[in-house]
């Protein structure tokens, strides 16, 4: 971003300014109804999504979404309401409704705003907004170019589920009765392509995508096409394998999911409900001793950056895991009060995790594994955060002596997350930049694989 503001940015800023006023008015109105405290969030997003398939435009969709959510506290009781209609009357009706609800909910000693001294009164501009290209013709051209590049190259690609381009820009405003109001704009765009290949009677689908806040960071359509072809064609001829226990690599495309389960397990909501396999794990070894996880909410342009959390709490860099030891839970102010701790600014989720890794690329990781499975897809909901029991569908490749042998599908993988996290052998340097949890491929000591 430099110098002159675009028209797009100016319009958004005007709307954001109005939204701030709406938020402050809603809070003031709540106070006038006798609320002891109130908080309000307003997000808006605008953009488009275009699909092309087999050389023709399939859909051109114009998106415009917004919602205001208000939480009203009457003493220790709370009520919440939301409205997509931002006219003053509708907002006042929502505040009134939230206030009414708070008359019926119970007194909850842990309820309330985050502490005033934790508010991000002076928050940084994290540069999360870039002008997105929202011209439908551009979107049509880029999706057609991407799909065309994918359809011409390999005779095994027999069909397409199309290419999609989407670009969205918007803002988030949060305010509360401590007198804090914060707002920031952000944008993102993505390009994806889904292909269908066939070998014998069996079809397989796979896809590739690129995603960035800064449009100049998007991969070129030809690159996305090439990745989609590679992913789809490499699945053809997949077979199941015999039931066994083997080492497993979670390819970078699915590796962040494993740490996603860690996030769920150390989140305040799971902990105070005693519904986590990592209860009482603070300052204990949960990962191997060579592994560190660092969180930086303030990476300029970062996908999961935010200057304050969903309660207005100032976010800050944290070492989540050092030498395998868990340094912190992920807490909202509510969970913190339930656990007699301090909020960590994680209302709304995590902010840019970076997982440490070694020097191995994926090929070196496969050599290190020797014989086992490289997983490129996991399916289904079989993850129990209460017990850590893990059982999911999977697909990928059988690896022998470090070399890919053939594609594998219709198998399940199973284990327990407590052991799985501790038994990480190595993490590759092939970091996936498209996710809030940035990690390379993960080699695990062993999982139960069910097949034939």
């Amino acid at each position: 971003m430099s110098g002159q503001q675009s028209e797009q940015q100016q319009l958004l800023e005007q709307d954001m300014h109005k939204a701030k006023q709406a938020v402050e008015e809603a809070i003031a109105f709540a106070k006038s109804l006798g609320a002891s405290a109130a908080e309000c969030a307003l997000s808006q997003s605008r953009g488009l999504s275009v699909d092309s398939r087999l050389g023709e435009v399939e859909t051109v969709e114009f998106n415009q979404d917004g919602s205001l959510g208000i939480t009203v506290y009457r003493g220790q009781s709370k009520g919440a309401a939301a409205t997509a209609d931002l006219n003053p009357d509708a907002v006042r009706a929502a505040v009134t409704k939230a206030n009414d609800i708070a008359r019926y909910t119970s007194q909850d000693p842990a309820a309330g705003l985050a502490d005033a001294q934790l508010m991000a009164y002076d928050y940084p501009d994290l540069g999360l907004y870039f002008d997105a290209n929202m011209d439908p013709q551009h979107a049509i051209d880029i999706t057609k170019a991407c799909e065309q590049a994918a359809l011409d190259k390999d005779p095994r690609i027999i069909n397409s589920d199309g290419a999609n381009y989407s670009a969205h820009a918007g803002f988030r405003v949060y305010g509360n009765s401590h007198g804090f109001t914060g707002a920031y704009m952000s944008s993102r765009q993505s390009l994806s392509c889904v292909l269908i290949g066939k070998q014998g009677d069996v079809m397989e689908r796979d896809y590739a995508y690129t995603l960035a806040r800064d449009p100049s960071q998007l991969k070129r359509p030809e690159e996305v096409a090439a990745e989609a072809i590679e992913a789809t064609v490499s699945r053809l001829g997949a077979r199941s394998i015999d039931t066994c226990k083997v080492p497993v690599i979670f390819h970078r495309d699915v590796a962040h999911g494993l740490f996603g389960h860690l996030v769920a397990a150390i989140s305040g909501g799971s902990l105070y409900r005693k519904s986590s396999f990592l209860l009482d794990s603070l300052h204990t070894q949960v990962l191997p001793s060579w592994l560190n996880i660092h969180e930086d909410p303030h990476i300029v342009g970062g996908l999961a950056s935010s200057p304050f959390d969903h309660e207005g709490v100032r976010t800050q860099a944290r070492d989540i895991v050092t030498a395998g030891e868990l340094n912190t839970y992920l807490l909202t102010s509510y969970a913190a009060r339930k656990l007699d701790m301090q909020t960590t600014g994680h209302a709304g989720g995590i902010h840019n995790w970076r997982v440490s890794h070694g020097d191995d690329d994926l090929a070196a990781l496969c050599r290190r594994m020797g014989t086992g499975l490289l997983l490129t897809e996991v399916m289904g909901q079989g993850v129990n955060i209460v017990t850590g029991d893990y059982s999911r569908g999977a697909a990928g490749f059988w690896v022998e002596n470090g070399e890919l042998q053939y594609p594998v599908s219709e198998i399940t993988i199973a284990g327990n997350l407590t052991q799985m996290l501790r038994s990480i052998v190595a993490i590759g340097n092939d970091i996936d930049p498209r996710h809030g949890i940035q990690t390379g491929s993960i080699l695990l000591e062993q999982l139960s694989v069910a097949g034939n």
Binding site: F62, T83, T105, Q107, R235, A238, S275, M379, R392
Partner: protein, 481 residues
């Protein structure tokens, strides 16, 4: 047209039906083949009890309109979270931008879709006073806790949606619907010797909250039945051992395990995937795609069911659609776009999450008809396998046909007898192949309690499933044992 819908969606916005007709006329020009305007308002509330207190309540209103214009296979779509002439004009202009302007075409004479009412237009949010809503949460909490001292946490949630929709289309469609939907859920944590396990149960449908305090077929008020079921499941899971790994016979219980049909068959028979040739079932009409005896139906016309619709979101009356008859593929589920492009008739399966989403072919209530075996007979026929009466959910890759679903309650069957509970495991199979392996069909068809949510392309809609007890000769079971 339902006068209450017209009052709610049009009069309040100072609009009349003529404004929508004018909107359609504006859309219907040049090479546009079809256009529709969808108006919706929805009221939503939810109440949550945790730690034996009602911690939160929330309420929201959404109102808006969506405009769609279709030319061939091309769709232009825009929406606004505001119902007004201005919003209609703006979204119409954006939606018809996909095609060149041209001569105006004649919009069909609007005719109200005639359909049997499947649910009463009562507003569940206002049918009960707030105090009653609080009472049922507290009653369930007390009931669950007194059942067993090992129950350490109880969470109860109660929610309702009350929706008005109106759709008009250039083909002359005019349809309205008032859709109530309620849901009650109880989730508990049981604790014993340092081990913790969850159990959860619930239900709902298209009626008011009264349903929950009424007695079920066993003579028990439903809200207590849900609490007891959640407790029972948690206690069973406290005793569960490692699940086996590998291919073996699987017996699925009646009711909610019908999620099998939703994943292994249903999605693959949605019209869009078959028009595009991306489904494992594409081009297989008339072929044997499941074992003989399997008759699978998608039925949006069941009274008060969660997945039922008087009319779908394109204004087509919902139907009883036979998808597979005695193992033979006989029909797809269609919306208007895919039906037209495939030269078929719409089947009342055109659904959308809201005005801000495009319609597509979706399931309603999907189930398999019963057969002749008793569930005891089916279990007795298995030497070594598993019996799974409850599931968490599933997922399918419609192109390869691979699907998974995860058991939340399961048992080992040894020599024809259920011997001990095992941990929830994921089952994986290939839709058409697994359906050929159905070897015994129970005589105990049951529909689920009304809890299903189906996701597709980022859109969620309420659905139902059902089936009798079924035996599948071989499926891969994802245990660790």
């Amino acid at each position: 047209m339902h006068p209450e819908v017209s009052e709610h969606l049009l009069s309040r916005a100072d609009m009349r039906l003529e404004d929508l007709e004018a909107g359609l006329a504006q859309l219907y020009q040049g090479s546009i083949d079809y256009a529709d305007i969808y108006l919706q308002s929805s009221h939503h509330e939810s109440w949550v009890l945790e730690d034996s207190i009602v911690k939160s309540g929330s309420f929201s209103i959404d109102r808006g309109l969506g405009v769609r214009a279709i030319e061939g296979e091309k769709t232009g779509f825009a929406y606004a979270d505001d119902i007004s002439i201005q919003a209609l004009n703006q979204t119409s202009k954006a939606a018809r931008g996909i095609a060149a302007a041209g001569q105006n075409k004649q919009v069909g004479q609007l005719n109200t879709t005639s359909a049997r009412l499947l649910y009463l237009p009562d507003n569940p949010l206002s049918a009960w006073k707030e105090a009653q809503k609080i009472d049922i949460l507290n009653a369930m909490d007390r009931h669950a806790r007194k059942l067993d001292p090992r129950i350490s946490e109880v969470t109860v949630s109660l929610s309702a949606v009350y929706e008005h929709i109106l759709v008009v289309a250039t083909d002359g469609t005019l349809a309205t619907d008032i859709r109530p939907l309620v849901r009650l859920n109880c989730s508990v944590l049981a604790q014993q010797n340092g081990r913790r396990e969850r159990g959860s149960a619930g239900g709902g449908g298209r009626f008011t909250y009264d349903y929950f305090t009424q007695k079920n077929e066993r003579g028990q008020p439903r809200h207590f039945a849900f609490a007891e079921e959640a407790v029972r499941q948690a206690l069973v899971n406290l005793e569960a051992d490692e699940a086996p790994a590998g291919k073996m016979p699987v017996v699925l219980g009646a009711g909610w395990p019908g999620v099998l049909l939703h994943e292994a068959v249903g999605h693959g028979l949605e019209g869009d995937f078959n028009r595009k040739g991306s489904s494992a079932y594409a081009g297989k009409i008339g072929q044997q795609v499941a074992a003989k005896g399997c008759t699978i139906i998608d039925d949006g016309t069941l009274d008060n069911r969660r997945g039922s619709l008087t009319v779908d979101d394109e204004g087509t009356a919902s139907q009883h659609n036979v998808l597979i008859e005695d193992g033979k593929l006989v029909g797809y589920m269609q919306d208007k776009l895919n039906a037209r492009l495939m030269g078929m008739a719409p089947t009342g399966n055109g659904r959308r999450e809201s005005f801000a989403h495009l319609p597509m072919p979706r399931m309603t209530n999907t189930y398999m008809l019963g057969g002749e075996h008793s569930s005891e007979e089916i279990i007795a026929s298995v030497k070594h396998g598993i019996y799974a009466p409850h599931f968490a959910g599933g997922q399918v890759d419609i192109t390869s046909g691979k699907f998974v679903f995860s058991a939340s309650e399961a048992y080992l069957i040894e020599n024809g007898k259920i011997t001990r509970p095992i941990k929830g495991a994921t089952l994986i199979g290939n839709g058409p192949a697994s359906m050929q392996q159905v070897s015994m069909i129970g005589n105990d068809l049951a529909l689920d309690e009304g809890v299903g949510v189906c996701g597709k392309d980022g859109q969620s809609v309420p659905v139902g499933v059902g089936q009798p007890t079924l035996k599948i000769d071989a499926m891969t079971v994802g245990g660790t044992g």
